[in-house]
Amino acid sequence: MGLTSMASASADPGRARVRTAWMFLAPTLIALAVVAGWPLARTIWFSFTDARLDDLTRYGFVGLDNYLAFDDGEWFGVLAEPDWWNAVSVTLWFTVVSVSLEVVFGLAVALALNVRFPLRGVVRAAILVPWAIPTVVSAKMWAWMLNDQFGVINYVLMGFGVITTPVAWTASADTALWAVLIVDVWKSTPFMALLFLAALQMLPQDCYEAAKVDGVGPVRALIHITLPLLRPAIITAVIFRALDALRIFDLIYVLTSNARSTMSMSIYARQQLVDFQDVGYGSAASTLLFLIIAMITISVIALGRLDFDKGATR
């Protein structure tokens, strides 16, 4: 038994390795198909039906009506809803601004933590605290801190004379999205910093030594050595965070409820699915959300010319 398998392996080592690889991958692939593939397929299927939440067993096929339909001289469907397009623009704005800020702050924190100083370990651990708190908890916590009458933020800002009257952070349409943004940046910067810090510690030191010999200052070294070398890490981090930001739900839901001006794509889909019980329509919105996320991820990878294989062999 052992002999025959060894014999065949030596006859065609490549094929055996491939087979072994598939064998080890199989459980993962099956698990993925069950927990990710099946719900996704079901959602896409429901988006072509008029299913309702109170009875998911009875539904009819309606084709593309949930996406776009022309009826009595008017357009209907998700793609014809101003609320949906508002949600798309809110989500994209939020993603671009929050991820950019998190990259900048994350880099700053990582560069600071990369320097040797006493108690560095403690500081590194401490900075992870916001990331460790569940989003719903931190959202509720910030909701209290941002409260217009009793919140500590207004109290402090008024104490320093920055503002004269309390600001209703989560209530006014002008500030609500910024409040969400502040909380998200507070929460996710540590994650970015951690990724960047790990990458920074892998950088080859000889480049810096050569630069030092050539008399290159720290700013030029940052721009011409550190950032290019960090590029794969930055792009990976951006993809990670952008995926999260595009799906943003809990933070907005807790902080500003169902207000139209702060509605993200996920909140829109949930509202159709749950509040309005319209599973077909909500599934169409979810499917569009999925497509948008997929498209953005693919284009970021393409634009960043990120080669995962090359990164792995380096």
Binding site: D72, D148, Q149, A168, A171, S172, S257, N258, V274, D275
Partner: protein, 424 residues
């Protein structure tokens, strides 16, 4: 060595679990109660009293304060056919949306429903099935600071315009005197079901109808409704804090009860709390009907209230129905009214001396409670949530100054027409 004991541990553990679930005749009933004001505490004590007399056990599950969020949670549980919760507390506008998930309570009520207000029983009857028993009823009322109005020589306002003026006068005078955190008026301005209730009260008090009328026609875009919203738009930042745009019931009560507001729109439950031992405004609060809208308007108040229903997926329907009947029964309703100002749903309890002693305003506002205006949930049926969302969305835009009243109502009208193109 250690691993050899593992099977034994499993056996012990399984025995333990098995033992606790099947031991004895008593059943374990889970009830989902609201947690606004003293609701949760009352629900717990009431359910425990029932448990003691019947020998069962009760688990009280608290749910979100916001009615909108609570409905979402229920829908997720019920759509999955979950048997985790046996008795659900339902808002007065939900029977049309959720009816299919609850059992007919008629076989268990033994005619008890005849003691309650007929309008509520009718509301809870869907296709001839009594799907929920009334727990308490509600209508919006206006709270005011007696001491502050007396101090500044102002009468209790009759119209919204009077109230606006009174709030402005008192707010200015008190702020000049150093009470810098005082506001004139707080209400429920958050983008949720409560804003629909508040705004319908404003519009109805001006005679502007009920968004969609009893025949299903969309009536919301009319001059009276425009006048109502145009007036309320002036409140935010002037007499109400901007944060009111994110206040639900308890946030508004927080500001009023800490002594930082002259007027508050809220439900009757706030009375008992405002007069509680620890309340800074204890003894300084008055309650009256919501103001009229101008001289041609009327006092309004939107019908609210909660009911108990038994889940179709419950494994102990008989016991669950028994608990629902107990909690909605006369003794419990009286206890809730006396301790925490929850309005009974039985007309005879409004003549009860103990109830009236605890809540003197129950008698004077009796007609407000019995003639409260209903939200258009019956006529719009499954679409009610969409209608309410569109309505509160339009009102929120007006309040926050993003839109003027008349274009917002015109947009709302066309949105509702789109929604109902094939009937409600």
């Amino acid at each position: 060595m250690e691993w050899k004991r593992l099977p034994l541990c499993f056996a012990l553990f399984a025995g333990l679990a098995f033992g606790t679930t099947t031991h004895g005749e008593a059943t374990d009933i889970a009830i989902s109660c609201g947690a606004v004001g003293q609701e949760l505490e009352l629900c717990r004590t009431g359910a425990e009293a029932w448990a003691k007399t019947t020998g069962n056990t009760v688990k009280v599950v608290s749910s979100p304060n916001s009615a909108t969020e609570r409905l979402a949670l229920y829908q997720q549980l019920l759509a999955g056919g979950a048997s985790d919760i046996d008795v659900f507390q339902l808002d007065v506008v939900w029977p049309g949306i959720l009816a299919s998930h609850f059992i007919d309570l008629k076989p268990y009520s033994k005619g008890q429903e005849a003691e309650h207000f007929k309008s509520i029983i009718d509301n809870n009857t869907v296709d001839g099935k009594l799907i929920a028993m009334p727990l308490f009823t509600d209508a919006g009322v206006l709270y005011y600071r007696k001491d502050l109005l007396d101090k500044h020589g102002i009468k209790v306002p009759e119209t919204w315009e009077d109230m606006t003026k009174a709030a402005e006068t008192v707010q200015k005078a008190e702020r000049d005197a150093g009470n810098s955190s005082l506001w004139g008026f707080v209400f429920q301005g958050r983008a949720y079901e409560g804003l629909t209730v508040n705004a319908l009260e404003w519009i109805d008090s001006f005679g502007g109808g009920t968004i969609v009328d009893a025949e299903g026609a969309i009536t919301v875009n009319n001059p009276k409704a425009q006048a109502a919203l145009a007036l309320t738009q002036q409140w935010v930042k002037r007499i109400a804090p901007e944060g009111v745009l994110n206040y639900a019931e308890e946030e508004a009560r927080g500001v009023f009860q800490s002594g930082n507001a002259v007027f508050m729109r809220n439900w009757p439950y706030a009375w008992a709390l405002a007069n509680g031992q620890d309340s800074p405004v204890r003894g300084k609060v008055g309650v009256t009907a919501l103001p009229r809208g101008g001289d041609g308007g009327k006092h309004s108040g939107v019908l609210g209230g909660w009911n108990l229903a038994v889940s179709r997926y419950s494994k102990h329907q008989k016991e669950a129905a028994d608990l629902a009947m107990f909690l909605t029964g006369r003794e419990e309703q009286k206890r809730r009214a006396v301790i925490a100002s929850y309005n009974p749903t039985m007309p005879t309890l409004y003549e009860d001396a103990e109830v009236l002693k605890a809540n003197p305003f129950f008698k004077t506002l009796y007609s407000t409670f019995t003639n409260a205006v209903a939200r258009p949930s019956r006529v719009t049926g499954q679409n009610y949530n969409r209608v309410s969302y569109a309505f509160w969305g339009a009102v929120h835009e007006v309040l926050s100054g993003q839109s003027e009243a008349s274009p917002a109502l015109a947009r709302l009208e066309s949105e509702l027409k789109r929604m109902s193109r094939r009937g409600w």
